[in-house]
Symmetry: C14
Amino acid sequence: MDHGLIAIGAGIAIAIAAGLAALGIGTAAGKAFDAMARQPEMSGRIQGLLFVAIVFIEACAIYALVVSLLLIFVF
Amino acid sequence: MDHGLIAIGAGIAIAIAAGLAALGIGTAAGKAFDAMARQPEMSGRIQGLLFVAIVFIEACAIYALVVSLLLIFVF
Amino acid sequence: MDHGLIAIGAGIAIAIAAGLAALGIGTAAGKAFDAMARQPEMSGRIQGLLFVAIVFIEACAIYALVVSLLLIFVF
Amino acid sequence: MDHGLIAIGAGIAIAIAAGLAALGIGTAAGKAFDAMARQPEMSGRIQGLLFVAIVFIEACAIYALVVSLLLIFVF
Amino acid sequence: MDHGLIAIGAGIAIAIAAGLAALGIGTAAGKAFDAMARQPEMSGRIQGLLFVAIVFIEACAIYALVVSLLLIFVF
Amino acid sequence: MDHGLIAIGAGIAIAIAAGLAALGIGTAAGKAFDAMARQPEMSGRIQGLLFVAIVFIEACAIYALVVSLLLIFVF
Amino acid sequence: MDHGLIAIGAGIAIAIAAGLAALGIGTAAGKAFDAMARQPEMSGRIQGLLFVAIVFIEACAIYALVVSLLLIFVF
Amino acid sequence: MDHGLIAIGAGIAIAIAAGLAALGIGTAAGKAFDAMARQPEMSGRIQGLLFVAIVFIEACAIYALVVSLLLIFVF
Amino acid sequence: MDHGLIAIGAGIAIAIAAGLAALGIGTAAGKAFDAMARQPEMSGRIQGLLFVAIVFIEACAIYALVVSLLLIFVF
Amino acid sequence: MDHGLIAIGAGIAIAIAAGLAALGIGTAAGKAFDAMARQPEMSGRIQGLLFVAIVFIEACAIYALVVSLLLIFVF
Amino acid sequence: MDHGLIAIGAGIAIAIAAGLAALGIGTAAGKAFDAMARQPEMSGRIQGLLFVAIVFIEACAIYALVVSLLLIFVF
Amino acid sequence: MDHGLIAIGAGIAIAIAAGLAALGIGTAAGKAFDAMARQPEMSGRIQGLLFVAIVFIEACAIYALVVSLLLIFVF
Amino acid sequence: MDHGLIAIGAGIAIAIAAGLAALGIGTAAGKAFDAMARQPEMSGRIQGLLFVAIVFIEACAIYALVVSLLLIFVF
Amino acid sequence: MDHGLIAIGAGIAIAIAAGLAALGIGTAAGKAFDAMARQPEMSGRIQGLLFVAIVFIEACAIYALVVSLLLIFVF
């Protein structure tokens, strides 16, 4: 039964982390569009920060992807 | 029972990640429409950023798809 | 018991992903109607982007459908 | 026990997908009524887009229905 | 135990789908009343669209009813 | 154990569907009162549509009741 | 174990349905008070409709009560 | 194990129904205070309707209490 | 195992009912303070109704307490 | 296993009831501060009612504490 | 297995109660800061009441702590 | 299996309590910043009260930490 | 099975506590940005308090980390 | 079964922590964009604080990553 439970562990790991990361990107991008529409001359700086935020959010998803792949191939 | 648990792991992985990614795209796009309606002259830049955000969100769903396919074919 | 668990895995995969994708389309379309009503002259561009968003959201549901069919027929 | 678990899988698949699709249609239609009341002269275009959105949402429910019937009759 | 699990599957299928469909009709109708009160001269078109939305929502509940009856009588 | 699981299936079916249908009626009626208070001269049409909505919502609860009784008496 | 599971089924049936019905009555009545305070001359009609809504909501709870009693005495 | 499961069924039945009924009374009463503060001359009629709503909500809790006692003493 | 399950049943019964009743009292009292601050001359009547609402909410908690004690001492 | 399950029952009983009671006190007190800030001359009466509400909320937590201690020492 | 289940009971008891109590203190304190900022001359009385509310909320957490320690040391 | 269940109990205890305490500190601090921005001359008193609130919230987390360590080292 | 359950305990402990702590920091920081934008001359004091709040929130996550490491290395 | 349960523990640990951390970054960044749009001259300081907040949030995700890797490689 070990094999099956490892698969479930890997599945849960990527599922919740990637899903919530996607929601987080959606929230941050949505707020950024909102802020740009209100203050167009700030759009350059906001765009830059949005990319930074997306990168850090993706990093969280990558952590889970790494754990997930480790569980599948190494464990 | 291993075979069955792997299938559940693969199912959960794509289900939650793809579903929340879809919600995230919906949120981001909805906020983008909102911002465009308020500041039409910003619509070019917002449209570009929306595509970037969608690409990063889809990336999260793809991570889960990869894990899911790995669980089905390789594991 | 393998057969039954695979069926549950396939069921969960399409259920959550398709359901949340439907909610996401509903949210995006609802916000688009809102934005069109406030800025009618932007309705062409918003309509185009809405189709793009729906396509990407449907893609997420399709990922889950593919995994689900793979689990039923191939696994 | 296989037979019973397949039934549960089919039940979950259609239950969550159809339920959330119904909620999604309700949300989209509700927002459309709202937008029509605010901008009556846009009601033709919004009505058209509402049908498109409903069709895509129903498609998600149909995916789950197909999986559900496959689980009952073919699997 | 098969018989019992099939009953649970049929129960879940109709329970969640019909319940959420009922909530969806309530939401759509509530928003429609709201819109009619704000724009009485649009009430004819909104009423028509409300019936269309209700029909599509009921369709989702019917899908689940069909699956539920199939599970009880055919499976 | 079959007998007991069928009872749980029947219980879940009517519980969730009837409960959410009751919430749906509450939501729709609440919004209808709201709309009537804002636009008294529309109250006739809204009252009519409210009954239509309630009938369709009750229909969803009836579907679940039918499944529930089928599970108890026929299955 | 059949006897015990039937009791749980009956308990769940009445618990969720009656609880959500109570919440629904609370919501509808609360909105009705709100509407009466804003438009006192509509209070007669709203009061009448509130009773209709409460009756339909109670009907949902009664459905579950019937199923619950059937499970206890007949099943 | 029958005895214990019946106790759990009775416990769940009264717990959820009575708890949500209490929440429902709280919501309805809270909205009633609100409405009275805005339209003091309607307070007599609202007070009367509040008692009616509370009675119907308590009825839901009583249904669950009856089922709960039946499960304990008769079942 | 009967003894232990009865204890869990009694625990759940009082836990959820008493907890939600406490939340309900908090909501009702909070709205009452709000209404009093807006319409000080109504504070006598609101205070009276608040006690009535609290009494009915406590009644719900008492129902669950009775069931809980019955499960512990009589069952 | 009886001993352990009784401990879980006692733990759940006090956990949910005391936790939600604490939330209820927080809500009621928060709304009271709000009302006092808006209508300082009502602060005496509101303070008195707040104590009454807190006492009734604590009563709910005490019910659960009693059941919890009964389960530990008497059951 | 008794020993382990008692530990879980003690863990749940303190976890949920202490966590929700912490949230309740946060809510009450947050609303108190809000009220002080709007009506600085009431800050003395609000500060006093805030301490009273915190004490009663802590009391709820203490109840759970007592039950938790009883379960660990006495039970 | 005792050893493992004790670990789960200790894990749940600290997890939920510390997590919700962190959320509570975040809420209280956030509201405090808000209040300071609106009424700068009250910032001294609010800062003092914020520390008091944080201390009481941390106390809740400490209770759970104590229970958790007791479960690990003493139980 | 002890070894595995300890791992799950350690996983849950850090998962929920660290996740909610991250949410808490996000909330507090978000509110701080908001307050700074409204009252720039308070930004020094708010920044200081934000660090204090973050430190206390991190402390909660550290408690869970300590418990988690104790479970892995010592238990 | 130990091996499988450790994998599930590692999966849960990174999943929930990384996911909620991603949501937290999204919230904080979204609020920061909002604040920058309202007060452009504060954008330097807000940007700095945003990085500090993101670092502390990432720290929470790192804690969970460390526990997760420890569970996989050392435990």
